[in-house]
């Protein structure tokens, strides 16, 4: 590996992302602080979460500058996790419903 092919990028990018992460974290804290509820709460939490995760992965972990081949390796397998999460959410609701139906606590 020649020296130039290491990941080197202008410091400014890191600083901007750094600040952005602080801001986003503050925002997600605010969601709780102001007791937002329901769909609004969840939309905001998820948006902030994915933005933060995206910036960490893309900039700090340099994935934005990696080859497409690596990106696919990293993200395609997550489809299995996505299905697991979806089905376990459905399953959790189903278990809850059966409990409500058959046991009264």
């Amino acid at each position: 590996m020649s020296e130039t092919s290491g990941q080197q990028h202008p410091v400014g990018v890191y600083l901007k992302v750094w600040i952005l992460l602080f801001v986003l974290s503050t925002f997600s804290y605010m969601v709780d602080f102001f007791h937002l509820e329901g769909y609004l709460r969840w939309t905001l939490i998820l948006i902030f979460m994915f933005l933060k995760a995206g910036f960490i992965i893309a900039i700090f972990m340099h994935v934005a500058w990696e080859r497409l081949a690596l990106k696919y390796v990293l993200f395609v397998p997550l489809s299995a996790i996505a299905i697991l999460i979806l089905l376990m959410a459905i399953e959790g609701d189903y278990t809850f419903l059966t409990r409500e139906t058959f046991f009264d606590q």
Binding site: M1, E3, S5, G6, Q7, Q8, H9, V11, Y14, L15, W18, L21, F22, S25, S28, Y29, V31, D32, F33, H35, R41, I45, L46, F48, M49, K52, A53, I56, I57, I59, F60, M61, H62, R67, L68, A69, L70, Y72, V73, L74, P77, L78, I81, L84, I85, M88, A89, E91, G92, D93, T95, F96, R99, E100, F103, Q105
Partner: protein, 226 residues
């Protein structure tokens, strides 16, 4: 089937064409050091571990008939007479993000060949990590003092304590391992051990550290804010 081709890739074609040519090259598929690719694959595997932890937590929580404690209150602190919900967790989040920032800078200085700054920044990263673990220990102590146990708690569903100790514990172990890893590499950087081999190792260490931060983003959203 016997066509002779010169298949060594230059890793310059963009997009899907580039991906095809990367995968069809001989000798190596990725233009990465062995250690870095290995770290990426390990992190993918570790992603599955944390995802399954969180999915399991989600499932037991969704199937609960007992009430789930209000995390916003459980993790609140009185600071200077004001009641601040989730404040410690927020501080921990900021500490971890700060450490990710110092780590990113360390990688940058490493590739610029500035050994001293690299080592200092990695040391700072490790210190921030250690203080994160410290705050976590404080939080655990506080909860245990309030009667939260892995098998039950006074506030409601017993799965709350179970999931809390398990998930933050496993994440905390990762942070601790990261602190040790960082300290070792930082020392070697300072000594100049990598002058010959190059500084990819700093980037690799960085990948692990950012990953730990990344996991915390999800734990923060799904455990503390839900």
């Amino acid at each position: 089937m016997t066509i002779e081709t010169d298949t060594s890739t230059t890793y310059t074609d963009p997009g899907v064409d580039g991906m095809v040519s990367d995968w069809s090259s001989d000798r190596q598929t990725f233009d990465l050091p062995w250690g870095k690719l290995m770290m990426w694959i390990f992190l993918l595997s570790d992603t599955f571990i944390f995802s399954v932890f969180l999915t399991g937590y989600m499932n037991v929580r969704l199937s609960q008939t007992a009430t789930w404690p209000n995390t916003s209150e459980v993790f609140a602190l009185e600071i200077a007479g004001t009641h601040l919900p989730l404040i410690l967790i927020a501080i921990m989040t900021f500490v971890l993000i700060t450490s990710s920032g110092t780590m990113a800078m360390a990688v940058n200085f490493a590739y610029n060949g500035d050994r001293r700054k690299t080592a200092i920044l990695m040391g700072a990263t490790a210190l921030l990590g250690a203080s994160f673990v410290g705050m976590q220990a404080f939080e655990w102590t506080k909860l245990i003092g309030e009667g939260v146990r892995p098998w039950g708690n006074p506030m409601g569903s017993p799965q709350f304590g179970a999931a809390f100790f398990m998930i933050t514990g496993f994440h905390g172990l990762h942070v601790t391992a990261g602190v040790i890893y960082l300290s070792i590499v930082a020392r070697k950087v300072a000594r100049g051990d990598y002058e010959k081999k190059g500084y990819a190792i700093v980037e690799i260490t960085g990948l692990y550290w950012h990953f730990v931060d990344l996991v915390w983003v999800f734990i923060f959203a799904f455990f503390y804010l839900w």
